[in-house]
């Protein structure tokens, strides 16, 4: 006699599972509990053991197909006397149904709803919605992300949304469908659900994926016409402005100047003590003093002793230009991107003027008012990565310069101090230099000088 095996609910309230593979073929003789298939549910990949001992007559589903719970998946030819395992799950199926070869249950079972354990019983539907509908981002109403330089050029037609739009809730769907969407690269936010309560079904995702394929490649800067619910999956921002300049400068620098980077970690407690004292002095009243101020001064002092770091490689004329002045660049993160304005003739400035110049430079850059003149003619740069909480890195040279110093974050660390371990204020200096212009020895001496000054500001007396 023929016995059918219907796909069971393998995990507390699931409605469907995917047949991953068959472990048997039609005609195979299988024993009870022999593994016949591998099935993936929303919860797990499980092996299906055969509920009968017998011969496989038919496999109803192909690997890869998603099968509803209760659908027959295998037919077995079972010896008539093997009545020990009369499998009639759910009690809805009489023996007579099988004899006629009926594949579908005769009794129409109520449609099963997914109801996972812990989610409570399925509530009987009454006429009214049980709770208020969820907020979805309606089609075509996604908040646009604007390119950074949008402030001046509001020419292209872009529908802008008020800032107070309610954020869209996570689209409703089921784990297997979410996985399918992920596999197909479909963003569920863009899919309109046709299931109950706006639930996104497998069909919705597949349909959407089919449409998205036809629409490719998307046209730049506008949503595809027709209101199919598609919004660009990528934002294409023209490469221009600061980003373009930065990119060109970085590529030029990285691929023409052979970089070498050195690191030095310094106990800067004495420097911080000095800053604290200066802040209380009348001369520095109202002046912003930071580790960067002292580091800038230290660089200027050290450059005096190591002029090779303040030079330029002139490829065209095959000359090395050594500057007898210092235009000290300070890398600044601004709303427009990275800029490196510089302080002209910084070596002539006393600490107080240097501090004021640094403050002015930062404020100008943040306000987006840095002029091209401010940006041109730098001879060496400092990048203050410490403000981001970073310790060290490999700075890339500002093109045309021989060196750039990265200033790390000041950290309170256990450190050797007078033969004992003490909590000290420590930071790391990262120096990149153009190895065509600067040898390891020169770079090292320069970095050691900067470090020595920050470790003991009094050392300046030995250097000037």
């Amino acid at each position: 006699m023929i016995k059918e095996f219907r796909l069971p609910d393998l995990g507390e309230g699931l409605t469907e599972s995917e047949i991953l593979s068959w472990k048997v073929d039609v005609g195979d003789t299988v024993s009870l509990n022999q593994v016949i298939a591998e099935v993936e549910t929303a919860k797990a990949v499980v092996e299906l053991p055969s509920p009968f001992a017998g011969v496989i007559k038919e496999l109803h589903e192909q690997p890869g197909s998603v099968v509803e719970v209760g659908k027959p998946i295998v037919s077995f030819e079972v010896a008539d006397d093997a009545g020990a395992s009369p499998s009639t799950p759910s009690g809805a199926m009489a023996a007579g149904d099988l004899a006629a070869g009926a594949r579908e249950p005769v009794v129409e079972l109520p449609k099963r709803e997914p109801n996972l354990v812990g989610y409570g019983a399925v509530v009987e539907r009454s006429g009214r919605p049980a709770r208020r509908p969820r907020n979805f981002a309606p089609v075509g109403e996604r908040v646009e992300t604007r390119p950074v330089e949008s402030q001046a050029t509001a020419v292209e037609p872009v529908e802008s949304k008020p800032a107070g739009t309610i954020p869209a809730e996570r689209p409703r769907s089921t784990p297997p469908v979410r996985k399918l969407a992920k596999d197909l690269g479909v963003d569920l936010v863009q899919v309109r659900g046709t299931g109950p309560g706006g639930l996104i079904t497998r069909e919705d995702v597949q349909e959407f994926a089919g449409q998205a394929e036809q629409l490719a490649p998307p046209m730049e800067g506008q949503a595809p016409a027709g209101g199919t619910g598609a919004v660009e999956r990528e934002t294409r921002t023209p490469i221009k402005g600061v980003r373009k300049l930065t990119a060109a400068a970085m590529v030029h620098s990285a691929f023409t100047a052979p970089h070498a980077t050195e690191f030095l970690t310094v106990d800067v407690t004495p420097s911080l003590d000095l800053l604290a004292r200066l802040k209380n002095s009348r001369e520095f009243a109202g002046i912003k003093l930071t580790p960067l101020t002292l580091a800038a001064k230290a660089v200027l002092v050290a450059l005096h002793r190591n002029p090779a770091l303040n030079s330029r490689w002139d490829e065209e004329n095959q000359e090395i230009v050594t500057f007898n002045y210092v235009n000290l660049g300070i890398a600044a993160a601004t709303p427009r991107g990275l800029t490196v304005p510089n302080i002209k003739d910084a070596e002539t400035l006393a600490l107080r003027q240097l501090a004021q110049a640094l403050t002015a430079l930062a404020e100008t850059a943040r306000a987006g008012k840095t002029t091209p003149a401010d940006l041109a003619g730098g001879t060496i740069s400092i990048t203050n990565i410490g403000v981001f909480g970073i310790d060290a890195g490999t700075p890339i040279l500002n093109p045309g310069e021989a060196a750039i110093l990265g200033l790390g974050a000041v950290r309170t660390m256990p450190w050797e101090y007078r033969g004992e371990v003490a909590l000290r204020q420590v930071l790391t200096l990262s120096l990149s230099f153009d190895h065509r212009l600067v040898d390891g020895e020169q770079g090292s001496r320069f970095l050691a000088d900067v470090g020595a000054i920050l470790a003991e500001p009094g050392m300046v007396l030995t250097m000037v």
Binding site: F5, L7, P8, P49
Partner: protein
């Protein structure tokens, strides 16, 4: 495995800084994972009477409950059971303790102690009723002195403590034994139960199977000390035993039972084991668990450990193995038959277990419901449809 080559004093020495909640120091062991019997000055006494025959029957019981577990898991995959919580890997903890009990002791277990139920002589069909969704309780608790499995985590510890206080009032020397997992020790119920058990010095044994995972939460997230050490906060003496060593579990359980019978009050036993399978058949542990961990514990398997001991003693004959296998097969097929031929519950059954004695108010409801069902015209059809719900 440093914990495997333990010294002959039977207690592991700490190897470096063990993770809290992990297998650690002071871990009673009488049989090593390789099957070597090691002596212990205190605990040998508690298993001195275990004969070779009894060792063989422990081996049989552990093999049979593993087979019950495998068969029930298959039945779930075949749609015959809605759910099953596998006990794979915890056979020694369940058989070692379950076999130490007296018939008049009373067990209050969680849903995973199907091996203990087997020891209590549960009918195999009754064991599956709840998991088939066929009844809200599988058996009459007084028939085997074991309450039906508690699904609410840790609630059974309160029931056990209350029952134990009743034993005290009766002046009997029976003991209430409650089984729960590592996760349950974080529940309020378990802590309240320990407070009462200690206050009244109730004859209750708190048997905690530390299988290392509360579904997907590792035990170390819940407890920064060994679980056994939690009991001392309540003034309850505790033991930490190798839960995969059936003799060690037996020794600890017997000691605890003896203390309770003599009026010595409660004991907390932490049986350190491992849940080799999923939490239930609806769980996929590969999503949160390191496969290496599984491999480490497979090397400490409770059944192969006892087989190793039997082999050293020359008891693991082909005859014994065949006999055990036959027994397991018989039990499995008996259970399968009982499961698949279980009659569907009837609509009126819902009134059966509400009150222990007749109740006119309930009888009126029953009458109303019967007439309601009859209003469908086809009482049989109505009954089976309702029954299928």
């Amino acid at each position: 495995m440093s914990t495997d080559q333990t010294g002959h004093d039977g207690a592991n020495t700490p190897q470096g800084a063990g993770n809290p909640g992990e297998t650690g120091p002071e871990f009673l062991q009488l049989v090593t994972p390789a099957g070597e019997r090691i002596s212990h000055p205190e605990f040998d006494f508690w298993v001195r009477d275990v004969t070779d025959d009894q060792l063989c029957s422990l081996f049989e019981d552990m093999t049979v409950i593993r087979r019950i577990d495998v068969e029930a898991t298959a039945l779930q995959r075949q749609g015959e059971l809605a759910l099953w919580p596998p006990l794979l890997g915890q056979e020694a903890a369940q058989i070692g303790s379950g076999r130490s009990l007296r018939a008049d002791d009373f067990v209050f277990s969680s849903y995973r102690e199907n091996g203990v139920a087997y020891c209590r002589g549960v009918d195999l069909t009754d064991l599956l009723r709840v998991w088939r969704g066929n009844a809200s309780g599988g058996w009459d608790p007084y028939s085997i002195n074991m309450a039906t499995p508690q699904i609410i985590i840790g609630a059974q510890t309160l029931h056990a403590t209350g029952y134990a206080m009743g034993i005290q009032n009766d002046g009997a020397d029976a003991v209430a034994v409650t089984y729960f997992g590592d996760g349950a020790t974080s529940e309020g119920d378990v802590n309240e139960a320990m407070v009462f058990a200690a206050s009244f010095q109730a004859p209750v044994v708190f048997f905690c199977t530390n299988n290392h995972w509360a579904i997907s939460e590792p035990v170390r997230l819940q407890s920064h000390i060994q679980l056994a050490d939690r009991a001392s906060g309540f003034g309850i003496p505790s033991l930490r035993v190798d839960g995969n060593d059936v003799l060690a579990v037996m020794a600890a359980t017997r000691l605890a039972l003896d203390r309770a019978r003599r009026g010595g009050g409660p004991t907390f036993i932490e049986a350190v084991s491992y849940r080799m399978g999923p939490h239930t058949t609806a769980d996929d542990p590969t999503r949160y668990r390191d496969a290496n961990e599984l491999e480490d514990w497979a090397a400490k398997d409770p059944i192969s450990r006892l087989a190793g001991l039997l082999e050293r003693k020359g008891l693991l004959t082909a005859e014994l193995q065949q006999q055990v296998k036959d027994k397991a097969d018989t039990v499995a097929s008996q259970m399968r038959r009982g499961c698949t031929t279980m009659p569907e519950p009837q609509a009126m059954d819902i009134f059966k277990h509400v009150y222990s004695t007749p109740n006119s108010w309930l009888e009126r409801q029953q009458d109303h419901y019967a007439r309601y069902l009859a209003s469908f015209g086809d009482p049989a059809g109505a009954v089976s449809e309702e029954g299928a719900r």
